[in-house]
Amino acid sequence: MMLGFESTPQRVAELRQYFGLDRPWHIQYFEWLGAVLQGDLGKSLLSGARVDEMIMARFPATLQLTLASMFVALSLALPVGILAAIYPRTMLDTVGTLISVVGLSVPHFWLATLLILLVAVRWELLPVAGYVPFAEAPIENLRHLVLPALSLGIAYFASIARQLRSSLMEVMDTGYIRTAHAKGLGSRAILFRHALKNASIPVLTVAGVQVGRLLGGVIVIEQIFSWPGIGTLGLYAINQRDYPVLQGVVLLVAGSFVAINLLVDLAYPLVDPRIRHS
């Protein structure tokens, strides 16, 4: 890819040998793995820059976007899910379901484009795209964060809302909730002190899995909004066949996914005392 259309078979062979790409792939893999375990992610084939530095330079941007999107998703999912559960089979529930389904069906990139055209171009409320580091200008950073976070958050809140609704409904029907009612606790207290906590386990699980989908969606959104995160880095690495960079990015994304789900697992005992004591 470095050579593009100018690649002649000799030049390609020269380059492959230079980068050690002509060795058997399992040897290349174990060598890479060994290096990784020692903390060395290698160097970019194209620019010679250290892969770990390239990734670390861009990871904060993606982290910020992912967390912001999760925040949006949860902010939408909580009210929609709770209200739907408290007032099942009413207009509220139906509307909530409708919004969720729309969120589920709408492709996030389409949503992104729509938001850009409406909010940024027509109404001129927010910048179209781009990135400003938080340290440089916190307000600008947040202004640039809104549209991408909304695009991802709206697209991914639905599953969480649906899960919350059904878990909550299930929990509210249980024995101890009715006991609480009988004891005279107000509905709100019941809701927040008891029901939600117990309903949140499956919701946490779903949220953890959703992060995986978010990490995937981040690639396209970063591309659209020129958000310099590891999504665009990965895309560039794929297009340019910059293997060390691509391997580093995939490793990081996979690692993040595992780490987040680990966090979710660790969060269970915080939420459900039954797990804590077992």
């Binding site: 100018e6 690649s7 030049r11 010679g48 982290l63 925040f71 659209i224 297009n239």
Partner: protein, 540 residues
């Protein structure tokens, strides 16, 4: 609520982690190149003694004029010799100069060399300007030219273009002599290639290993910062040897891969100039107030290459039939929304260039004659084939669709296969294809356009085409140095290529640029160079 608390904690952590702005790592920032032997301070140079504005400090200077442009991709790296694809040269050509350059009509013009002379068939001398300095203040000398040309021959993916240069001699401080191994017509063109033929500073290379992340050139702009994937910041080179250039103080190149976002940013005023690569946006921008769309023909052509080693494409009649039967105008109308030209009377060189042959062999599609030829060749009932094209650029998907329909009318059952570019190159190299639709861009000299692809020994002759007459003409075109003489050979060669049709020359696309009305002075060069950013001014 616990969950809420955890959430707030996470968000706070995220914001805290974002206090590290993603810049000070190798690929991103550029420090003053570590070369100044004479201890001269960073941005001053011997010529402009006493100019206060040298040290760029935009925050302090309220009247700083900034040009913000949007390009579709980032450069692969800042080394002009290592990275020669168009997107990279669009960056490096602003930071470096070559010995020669092209004017707006792609005629050779003086660059770092103010004059040149052909001593004999294989010897040329170039006289350098004596007032050029690198960005760090070091004066340009013939040594730098020698070093650069040798480096190109060693490292450049396009080194084959410079292969006939046998030796480079330093005659004196400002004179270079180039000795060729054989007469070589395209020499001047290749020495003028933006980016690819840049003159670099040896000390900077040695201090940094390569030039991927630093830039100490002679060009109109100096590199301040490269945030890979996001943007590149350049400032004006106050000591640039061309008077009054660049006009703007600062140039920021934003990477905008998504055309809708690019167009939106232009409309919202976040960018002043964008390159357009989707014809869909052209209409929208034309209608928008305060914006202009500039269109310009480019030395690009889209083609369909046949694998002439594989039946039925080894039969010239089959190829000619297809050439005859295709309606190129229709392709332009449907795929390019009418924005472009059908290659009806030309081959690789579009109208407006000196090698344009004006041979209207296929200006009227004739399906009947085509059918007749197919019959003669024994394929009256048609045949199946696969047309490959790169999936990375939407335009090819759009071009092949009308082609498929037109071939259907001839009884040819064409299956379309979108292949990712990297994979496509491999398949082409291995000869695993029937036909491929793709394009070339920015090749100014017909030697570069034709030799490697159509000469039987050409390194890029994937279709395995071989014709002794074409070989001969291409070799002679390469060796001749007088323009008229070369023209003769290339006219002949192109006519013959059009007749034999190992490749169908389909269309000449047009390039489009969207810009704010406050931007003046931009002219688009037909080879896709954006050097004219140095002549652009932005009204406040």
């Amino acid at each position: 609520m616990r969950k809420l608390a955890m959430l707030i904690l996470l968000v706070a952590m995220a914001l805290a982690s974002c206090t590290q702005s993603p810049s000070p790592t190798e690929p991103s920032t550029v420090e003053a190149p570590t070369t100044s032997e004479d201890g001269a301070s960073e941005e001053t140079n011997g010529l402009e003694a006493g100019t206060e504005g040298d040290e760029e400090d935009p925050a302090a200077d309220e009247a700083t004029v900034t040009l913000r442009v949007g390009l579709a991709s980032d450069t692969l790296g800042m080394d002009p010799h290592l990275f020669v694809n168009k997107t990279s040269t669009n960056y490096t050509e602003l930071l470096y100069d070559s010995l020669l350059t092209f004017d707006e009509s792609t005629n050779i013009a003086p660059g770092l060399a103010e004059s040149y002379e052909q001593i004999d068939d294989v010897t040329w001398t170039f006289n350098l300007r004596e007032d050029v300095t690198f960005h760090d203040g070091k004066p340009l000398t013939a040594e730098d030219v020698k070093y650069s040309l040798e480096r190109i021959q060693e490292l450049s993916p396009k080194k084959a273009l410079f292969a006939p240069i046998e030796t480079v001699d330093v005659v004196d401080q400002y004179t270079v002599q180039i000795n060729l191994s054989s007469p070589f017509g395209p020499l001047l063109t290749y020495l003028a290639l933006p980016g690819t033929a840049s003159i670099v500073d040896q000390a900077t290379v040695e201090a940094n290993g390569d030039l991927s992340n630093v830039a100490n050139g002679t060009g109109p702009f100096k590199l301040v910062e490269w945030q890979q994937g996001s943007h590149t910041t350049m400032v004006a080179n106050e000591g640039y040897f061309v008077e009054d250039q660049p006009i703007v103080d600062e140039l920021i190149i934003h990477v905008v891969p998504d055309e809708v976002a690019a167009s939106a940013r232009l409309r919202a005023g976040e960018l002043d100039w964008i390159e357009l690569y989707s014809y869909a946006e052209v209409e929208a921008l034309r209608a928008a107030p305060g914006l202009t769309v500039m269109e310009t023909p480019v030395i690009d052509w889209k083609f369909m290459l046949f694998n002439t080693s594989k039946p039925p494409f080894d039969d010239v009649k089959v190829r000619q039939a297809i050439a005859m039967g295709l309606d190129r105008q229709q392709i332009v109308d449907t795929a390019l929304f009418g924005l472009g030209q059908p290659a009806e009377a030309g081959a690789s060189a579009p109208p407006g260039t000196w090698a344009y042959v004006d041979y209207p062999l296929y200006d009227t599609p004739d399906a009947d004659a085509a059918q007749g030829l197919l019959q003669e060749a024994g394929y009256g009932d048609g045949f199946p084939m696969t047309i490959r094209f790169p999936s990375n650029w939407p335009i090819y998907g759009e071009i092949v669709t009308p082609i498929q329909a037109q071939l259907q009318a001839l009884g040819i059952d064409a299956e379309l296969e979108a292949v990712e570019f990297g994979v496509l190159i491999e398949e082409l190299g291995a000869g695993q294809f029937d036909a491929v639709v793709s394009g070339w861009a920015g090749k100014i000299d017909p030697d570069e356009q034709l030799y490697e692809v159509f000469h039987s020994e050409g390194a890029l002759n994937w279709g395995k085409f071989s014709d002794p007459e074409v070989d001969d003409l291409l070799e002679q075109g390469r060796a001749a140095t007088e323009l008229e003489e070369r023209q003769g050979f290339y006219f002949e060669a192109q006519r013959r290529l059009m007749e034999l049709s190992p490749e169908l020359f389909l269309i000449y696309p047009t390039a489009y640029f969207g810009m704010s009305d406050s931007v003046t002075g931009f002219t688009a060069r037909p080879d896709g160079s954006y050097r004219s950013f140095a002549r652009v001014s932005v009204a406040p």
